[in-house]
């Protein structure tokens, strides 16, 4: 220990560069994935696991965003295409397609992902509100992160609301 080191200097060495102003930084963890040209995130509390896609069985008279059902660990799960749901195009299943299994309450579904980015902790202060006057997809966003370090903005999906709307759209057909 240097002779001129003082408790104050040692404390300053450990101090952050910026003051937090006494506020606690609130972070949320999101499961992030690519879908088409989009970078999307879903709160990790809803994500159970990620799996490879398997044989998909289409169902008659279903909403377009429900591609069918998929068997996984003895469960039959509906498979959702968020691109179709958000009106942003159509996903194409391929060899690299993955499904993440998401649960909201007692409802579980599999959701298509073109690729998995991983888990990211995002500070609430970094989440910008969804664009005002945007299309209806904005209704299902928590917000947008522009400084996520990814190649493009990260749109954070309100997964609970997606599931609620999906069930309503399906029942109303």
């Amino acid at each position: 220990m240097p002779l001129n080191s003082t408790p104050l200097k040692r404390a300053l060495q450990a101090a952050p560069e910026r003051s937090t102003g006494g506020k606690q930084i609130v972070e949320q963890e999101f499961f992030c994935f690519r879908l088409g040209d989009l970078r999307l995130g879903v709160s990790s509390e809803y994500v159970r696991e990620v799996t490879r896609s398997g044989p998909l069985t289409p169902l008659p008279r279903m909403a377009a965003f429900v591609l069918g059902v998929f068997g996984h660990r003895g469960e039959v799960l509906p498979v959702l295409d968020l691109l179709r749901f958000l009106g942003k195009g159509e996903s194409r299943m391929g060899a690299r397609t993955r499904l993440f299994v998401g649960s909201v309450g007692s409802f579980t579904t599999a959701v298509i992902a073109d690729g998995v980015i991983g888990l990211r902790k995002i500070a609430s202060s970094d989440i910008l509100p969804p664009p005002m006057g945007g299309d209806s997809s904005a209704d299902h966003l928590i917000g947008v992160v522009t400084n996520s370090g990814l190649d493009g903005p990260l749109s954070l999906i309100n997964f609970a609301k997606v599931m609620q709307t999906a069930r309503q759209r399906v029942v109303s057909r």
Partner: protein, 127 residues
């Protein structure tokens, strides 16, 4: 102490429409035949490739015929491999009654009586 009874296997008649496999309770099928002019196709199952066979079943008035491409056969499946449709699939039609998990491959199960009722409501006939 009660011991849960093991459910007996269920006989499924498996058939194909447009390259996809479906199943019905074999007990609903009277026979498999060549389709008569009144045999109908169910558009919800997808387009028929050939439609060269028909599942003949007891309808409300006489016999009904559902046109299919091919019949794979009857298979006894364990009751514990059967699943109800997930709730989000509720509109798959009253005639879609569940799924048989063939390994990890879901096979959609249909009810011929409900198909006939659906047809009567929509009055759709195949060629």
């Amino acid at each position: 102490m009660t011991v849960p009874l093991e459910q007996p296997p269920v006989d499924l008649l498996l058939f194909e429409v447009g390259g996809r496999t479906f199943g019905v309770d074999a007990s609903q099928v009277l026979r498999v035949d060549r389709p008569l002019p009144g045999a109908y196709a169910l558009p919800g199952l997808g387009p028929l490739a050939e439609g060269g066979r028909a599942l003949v079943f007891q309808a409300e008035e006489g016999e009904g015929q559902l046109r299919v491409d091919a019949v794979s056969g009857i298979r006894p499946v364990p009751a514990d491999s059967l699943r109800r449709l997930p709730q989000v699939a509720a509109t798959a039609g009253a005639y879609s009654i569940g799924v048989w998990l063939n390994g990890e491959t879901p096979v959609l199960l249909l009810d011929l009586a409900e198909i006939e009722a659906f047809q009567r409501r929509h009055q759709t006939h195949g060629d």
